[in-house]
Subunit: 313 residues, 2 copies
C-alpha cells in the first residue's frame, strides 16, 4: 500500500470538525430476516447527504493556501458536485462545477446554493473534460477527481475508520463500488484498523466492471451501465483497481430488483431515507444468507439524496 | 409533582438494555431555513419504530413476577400495541392486544409477529373496553393504558432524559401532544434534569384538545378529531392534563398543510423516515421563526411507522 496509518489519522483530524461522525444503526427485524448481525454506518446523515463530503473536504483542506485561493473545479452531476461546492465554501474559496445539460434542476440548484459557479456542458466525456480544462486554464483552479485522487480516497477511508472505532470485531464490511473511491478507502482503514475484517464489495449486475475486472485481474471499464443505482455507474480507475485487487475478499453483484427490495427494507425497517446505491450492501447480504449467517457485518449506507417524487416503489 | 428524579433514573436503568439510546441528528440546511439550532431526537429508530416502547416496557418490567406471568392487555391500533407485544415477549409472557376490526392488516401482522394474541373488536370505545375486560376477567392479565399510567409516563420521560445527557443548554424542547404521555414524561425530565429548558407542545389544529384545555384550564376532550397525524388523535387524561398544566410553557397548533410540509422537509433534508405525528415540532418552529430565532431547540421525532404506499406527498 502507498498509504500508511498516519495518513488516515491525519485526514480524519483535518476534516473531523466539519463533518458528522454519523451514527451506526441496527435493526432487530432486519437482523432476524438476514440471520446476521448488521451494523449500518449512516452516511446519508453526512453533510450534503453523502459520504462524498469526506473525500472532497480532505482534498480541499490538503491544498496549500496559495493554490486553494484559485478555487476548485470538478465535473459531476451527483453528490461529489455538492461536496466540492460545500468544501470550497468552508475553505472560503470558489468552486467551479461542470454539469451535463440534462442534470436535474434540483441538483444544479443545490450546488448553486453552496455558492458554486455551475457551467453546463454536453453529456459526454469529451465535453466534460474540455469544459474543465478551459476553466482551469482561465482560473488556475485545482481539479478534484471524484475518486482517482489520493486525498479523496483518504477522506473516504475515515468513514469505516469511525465504524471500527465504534463497532468491534466485524467479520465483514461491505461498501458499494462505483468508481472505487469508497471501496479503496474502506480497504485502507480495514488494513490498518481492523485487520481481521474482510472487505466485500457490492455492485449492480448492470454496472459490473469491478466484478469483471477483479475476477479477470485486468481493468475493464463498463460501457453503457444502466442501473437505478445511479451513483455506481462509474468505472474503476487504475489507482482504485490496484487497491481493490490488493484488499478485496469478494465482489458480489445484485440485480435491479434486489436493489429495490433492499432499499424498501431500509426505508421501512431502518426508517432511513437512502438512495438506491445505498442498498447494495444489504442486497448482497440477503442474497447470500448462508455466507453471512451469524456474522457481524458493517454496511456503508452511502447517501440519502433521492427524489421523493420518483421512488421505485 | 408526584414523581421524583430517582423514579426517572430507575426507569431508565430498568429499560436501558432493551431499548436504543437513539441518535440526535442535526441538519445544517434545516437550521438555515428555520434560523434556529435544532436537535432531533430520533425515536423513529427506537425498537418497534417509536418512543412507545419506552413506556410500555417500563410498565411491563415494573410488574411483579407473579402478576407478569398472567400477561398484559391493551387496546391500540398503533405503536402502543406493538410496544406492549414486544415488551411482553421480552418479559417472557403473553400479550393480548385488542384492535378495531378496520385496523390495517400490516399492523395486525406486526403485532402478531411479536407473538401477541390479537382480538378484534368494534371500532368504538364501548366495544374496546368490554373486550379488554373480558380478557382480563378470563386471564387476569394486566392492563397497560397507552398514557394514563405512571410507569408509562416515566418510561417516556427517559427519551428527553437521554436528550439532555447529550445536548446541553437547550432553550426549548418540543414533543408533539396526543394523549399526553410523552408530553408528561418530557415535562418530568425537564423539571429534574434541565430546569432552564422550556417545554412547548405541538398539536394538530384538528385535534386541539390539549390547546383548548390548557388555555381554558379545564380538561375538555376533543370530539371527532380528523388529522393526518393519526398518533395524536387521542385526548388528554386527568393525569396527563395535570402534569401538562404544571409544566408547559405554551401549546402551538399547526395545520394539516404545515404538518405535511414539515414531514417532507424531514424526509428530504434530515433523511429520516417519520410519521406525520413526528413533524409537528418542526412545523411549530417553522410557524414561529421569530420566537425560536437563534434558540437551541430539542425536537422529539416520535416514530417512523408509515405506509410507503400511502404518502401524503
Amino acid at each position: 500500500m502507498n498509504f500508511n496509518k498516519e495518513d488516515i489519522l491525519l485526514s480524519h483530524k483535518r476534516i473531523a470538525s466539519w463533518i458528522h461522525n454519523t451514527p451506526v444503526l441496527t435493526s432487530g427485524s432486519i437482523n432476524q430476516i438476514s440471520g446476521a448481525d448488521l451494523f449500518f454506518k449512516c452516511e446519508n446523515f453526512q453533510k450534503i447527504g453523502a459520504f462524498k463530503m469526506r473525500g472532497a473536504l480532505n482534498a480541499v483542506l490538503s491544498t496549500s493556501k496559495e493554490n486553494s485561493q484559485k478555487g476548485f473545479v470538478t465535473h459531476s452531476s451527483g453528490n461529489h458536485a455538492q461536496a466540492v461546492a460545500l468544501s470550497s465554501k468552508i475553505a472560503n474559496t470558489k468552486a467551479y462545477i461542470v454539469m451535463p445539460k440534462g442534470a436535474p434542476k434540483i441538483k444544479i440548484k443545490a450546488v448553486k446554493g453552496y455558492g458554486a459557479e455551475v457551467t453546463l456542458c454536453e453529456n459526454n466525456e469529451r465535453s466534460r473534460t474540455d469544459t474543465c480544462e478551459k476553466i482551469i486554464n482561465k482560473t488556475g483552479a485545482n481539479f478534484i477527481h471524484p475518486y482517482d485522487n489520493d486525498k479523496v480516497i483518504l477522506g473516504q477511508s475515515t468513514c469505516s475508520k469511525e465504524l471500527y472505532d465504534e463497532i468491534e470485531k466485524l467479520d465483514y464490511v461491505i461498501p458499494p463500488v462505483g468508481g472505487g473511491g469508497l471501496a479503496s478507502g474502506t480497504i485502507l482503514s480495514t488494513f490498518f484498523f481492523s485487520k481481521s475484517t474482510k472487505v466485500i464489495l457490492a455492485e449492480p449486475e448492470k454496472a459490473n466492471d469491478a466484478f469483471i475486472s477483479f475476477n479477470s485481474k485486468k481493468l475493464i471499464p463498463v460501457s453503457k451501465p444502466d442501473t437505478i443505482a445511479d451513483g455506481l455507474k462509474t468505472s474503476l480507475s487504475e489507482k482504485t483497481f490496484d487497491i481493490i485487487m490488493e484488499g478485496t475478499d469478494e465482489i458480489i453483484t445484485v440485480s435491479e430488483e434486489e436493489i429495490i427490495n433492499a432499499m424498501r427494507m431500509i426505508w421501512e425497517r431502518l426508517k432511513v431515507v437512502c438512495e438506491p446505491s445505498c442498498s447494495l450492501p444489504l442486497a448482497a447480504v440477503l442474497k447470500n444468507k448462508e455466507k453471512f449467517k451469524n456474522k457481524r457485518v458493517g454496511l456503508i449506507l452511502t447517501g440519502g439524496n433521492v427524489d421523493l417524487n420518483n421512488l421505485p416503489f
